[in-house]
């Protein structure tokens, strides 16, 4: 059954591998996935360790429900200390790796040390082997996966790999599985590269016993009907996430020219419908693909239509690619978008960071802070598609002065570039912001400022705040499973009630990440989608474990607090611009120049923002400095941590 999946502790320096069960009381405290990873990180990483040194610990996991009938249990989670901000590193991706890992007998891998030469892990039906990867070094992400299948003569192997960027310890390198499923944020690919770990290959045929098969099947069917009947998921299933970029751009909520504008104009060629047309032309009318067990199928398949890569197959592009290769650098070519998306997939680099950092450098170049000397002659202006793709390559391979500087991530690059370059860097905790502009949406601004892994939309974003739902509907969502009778506002430009929404979503998303399911299957983009109450049922039917909705909420709160404890231990300070719950000054000082009438002219109000953070801290049980109160730790049974329960 799911509960007998193991943790493997792997020391790459010594080659020692230990396999242990996950005690049931640990499951009841942390479930699995990201929550248990956070616990393992806090317990198995030395304070202040070098993120790219052997003391950093890399966690790879599936959730407690991975490969069960909980619906879309495809997610793989990867965690370590981040080489970008020096705080929490964490990424999460779809595909087929985590189910294969679970069928191979494991839910969690804890990888320490550093291999002397390139290696990969081969995980097969309860056994783990460290194998020579010298022949794989230098290969792209897909070349690596196919080569492993060939070497081990099994087409069904699923691998989590790094590309050349990870090998080069580019701090924005990602980990990948399949054609385009990426764990992009916080440079986990660089951590793998620093350990000389090229890949983790898994293949398993071990049964996962379902506690109540008939009920699990019936509930899964209900779950799917609920999920596929939501309009937002139907649109996702037709157009993929580009539809979000298109919708957000329409009212002025995306970044353009780094952070100078909040809307991209004249961009018909990269609108979701135009992208869909290319997919249909090159792949046929049914061109959407799904991750494991998911009926949303939001992943588009395409072939690059024109240019030097014409005819090459890839998947996506997601809306982060639209931001990275279109909106932010102000490029509007579908060829650039699809090519850029392909290149970062192949070299294994976070598309979001790539586009953000290059756009930042473009602004610096136009301001004269960067010159042709640093760009090695490259005309790094906005709307220069060629320069954008060339810079992408230079980062992946650390070529040229600026390529090497940007490969260090925003914070270190800003120190290398000097002058006032840092003022223009749109980041939180060293992590570049998504290609969205939150100046008109205080709830979303609070989310990115306080998200545990840095500027990020998948840790606590109340995205449904944009739907202007009636307060009664909001009340129904936000007062379960914990009562809330404070204020709520349907207005997305408001500040009241938003901290509670951020707190609610923080716990909702943590629970999802512990279960191992996708956020499209909960209250992320759809207000009517399953949450705490439904999860008690899928947990019971699939694992036999009984929880109340409130208990799941408490677990999520506990796991979020562990992440907080880790960040505090590594130097988080409330208003520190590099390591805090703080936004770049441009959010407060530069008004939105474009967009809908209620968006133009908006900034985040500094005082109101401060109050929102205060309020959120209160809900989380933190003091004014963001440090947990002793009674909070006691309430969450964390007063003795690190206690090395596992």
């Amino acid at each position: 059954m799911a509960l007998n999946r193991k943790i493997a502790y792997i020391d790459l320096s010594t080659g020692k591998i230990e396999i242990r069960p996950i005690p049931i009381d640990v499951r009841r405290k942390f479930l699995g996935g990201r929550g248990l990873d956070a616990y393992l990180l806090y317990n198995h990483t030395k304070k202040g360790c070098d993120p790219l040194g052997p003391d950093n610990t890399l966690m790879v996991s599936g959730g407690i429900l991975t490969a069960t009938l909980a619906s879309a249990t495809a997610r793989t989670h990867v965690m370590a200390k981040s080489p970008l901000g020096g705080l929490l590193g964490s990424c999460n991706m779809g595909g087929f790796f985590a189910p294969e890992l679970a069928w191979a007998g494991f839910h969690h891998l804890v990888i320490k040390g550093k291999a002397e030469k390139p290696v990969y892990l081969w995980i097969h039906n309860g056994k783990i082997e460290i194998r020579d990867a010298r022949g794989l070094w230098g290969k792209t992400t897909t070349e690596t996966q196919w080569a492993i299948r060939e070497e081990l003569a099994d087409e069904d192997i699923k691998s989590l790999v790094i590309g050349q960027a990870g090998e080069n310890k580019v701090r924005i390198a990602n980990v990948m599985t399949g054609i385009k499923n990426s764990g992009g944020r916080t440079g986990m690919g660089a951590v793998m590269g620093s350990k000389n770990l090229k890949a983790i290959a898994a293949r398993g045929t071990m049964d996962i016993k379902i506690a109540y098969p008939k009920e699990a099947l019936d509930y899964n069917k209900r779950f799917i009907d609920q999920i596929t009947s939501a309009k937002v998921n139907q649109t996702q299933g037709a157009l993929g996430t580009p539809f979000i970029w298109g919708a957000t751009n329409s009212w002025g909520g995306v970044r353009c020219r780094n952070f100078q504008y909040n809307q991209e104009l004249y961009c018909d060629e990269i609108e979701p419908e135009a992208l869909d047309e290319v997919c249909a032309e090159t792949m046929g009318p049914y061109h959407m693909a799904g991750c494991f067990g998911c009926q949303v199928h939001c992943r588009a398949k395409y072939k690059i239509p024109t240019g030097p890569y014409a005819g090459v197959y890839d998947e996506g592009p997601e809306y982060t690619s639209q931001g990275a290769f279109c909106g932010e650098p102000d490029c509007r070519s579908i060829e650039t978008l699809l090519t850029g998306n392909h290149l970062v997939d192949q070299w294994g680099m976070d598309n979001l960071e790539t586009g953000s950092l290059i756009s930042w450098a473009m602004e610096l170049y136009e301001l004269g802070i960067l010159t042709k000397k640093e760009t090695d002659g490259l005309e790094l202006t906005f709307s220069n598609d060629e320069a954008l793709l060339e810079m992408t390559r230079r980062i992946a391979f650390r070529e040229g002065w600026l390529g090497n500087a940007l490969a260090e991530g925003g914070i270190i690059a800003s120190e290398m570039i000097g002058k006032n370059s840092f003022d223009y860097l749109i980041q939180v905790k060293g992590v570049s912001n998504l290609h969205s502009d939150e100046r008109a949406t205080p709830a979303l601004a609070l989310n990115i400022a306080t998200a545990s892994r840095g500027s990020d939309h998948l840790r606590s974003r109340p995205a449904i705040d944009l739907y202007h739902l009636p307060v009664e509907v909001m009340r129904k969502i936000y007062s379960n499973p914990v009562p809330y009778d404070g204020p709520l506002s349907s207005e997305h430009t408001e500040y009241i009630g938003k901290p509670w929404q951020v707190f609610w979503h923080e716990n909702c998303y943590m629970a999802v990440d512990c279960l191992g399911i996708c956020k499209y299957h909960t209250v992320f983009l759809g207000a009517t989608l399953p949450n705490f109450e439904d999860w008690t049922k899928v947990l019971r039917y699939n694992t036999g474990l009984e929880f109340t909705p409130r208990e799941i909420w408490d677990i999520a709160e506990r796991c979020n607090m562990i992440e907080r404890l880790f960040n505090l231990r590594e130097g988080l300070q409330r208003e520190d611009l590099k390591k805090g719950d703080m936004l770049n000054h441009r959010y407060f000082d530069e008004p939105c120049r474009r967009g809908a009438p209620d968006v133009v002219g908006r900034v985040i109000d500094r005082e109101k923002f401060k109050k929102m953070v205060d309020e959120l801290y209160e809900y989380k049980g933190l003091d004014k400095n963001g440090i947990p109160k002793p009674e909070t730790l006691k309430r969450l049974s964390l007063e003795n941590e690190p206690a090395h329960l596992v």
Binding site: D207, L217, K221, Y286, A289
Partner: protein, 168 residues
């Protein structure tokens, strides 16, 4: 006319490759999640984005049935399916070798063959496939549906040709 029974009708281009069919197949038959136990399997050419669901075709003149030395395999005309009687089966795997679709499987765990039994008339792969890449329809309807799809293409082409002629 008496309907001749329902069959699995697979439309590969509709498959999103999610493999939920493999998961529900193993849970329904064995009470466990294990794609290796699934009667249906999505064959993938990942680098081209091609996904093809493969399952038993419930052949009329089933090679597995003919090759079985102990006559353990027979047709169940009521549900239009080919069934294995495991009380008789000796586990020689001749059926596995002879099946032209690779749809007769052999479980290394249970040490016996296994194949699609159409879930006794309520195929779970169909129940859960939102795209209807796998469908369960009357056998004589399959070709009609394909005719219609092909005819649609022809009619589109004719309309386009007519439009071109008008322009000329």
């Amino acid at each position: 006319m008496e309907p001749m029974g329902k069959v699995l009708a697979i439309t590969p281009e509709k498959c999103t490759g999610c493999r939920l069919c493999e998961l529900v197949c193993s849970v329904f038959h064995d009470g466990v999640s294990n794609a290796d136990r699934s009667r249906i399997k999505i064959m993938k050419w990942e680098s081209e984005g091609l996904y093809i669901p493969m399952s038993c075709q419930q052949c009329q003149d089933a090679p597995c049935m003919m090759v079985c030395p102990v006559k353990a395999i027979s047709r169940d005309e009521k549900l239009s399916r080919v069934m294995v009687n495991h009380d008789i089966c000796i586990g020689c795997r001749s059926c596995v070798a002879v099946c032209p679709f690779g749809a007769m499987n052999f479980s290394a765990i249970d040490r016996k063959n296994f194949k699609c039994d159409l879930c006794d008339g309520d195929p779970q792969c169909v129940r859960f496939c939102d795209m209807k890449a796998v469908d369960y329809v009357e056998a004589n309807r399959v070709s009609i549906l394909k005719k219609k799809a092909a005819a649609e293409k022809i009619s589109v082409a004719r309309r386009e040709a007519a439009a071109l002629e008008r322009e000329m």
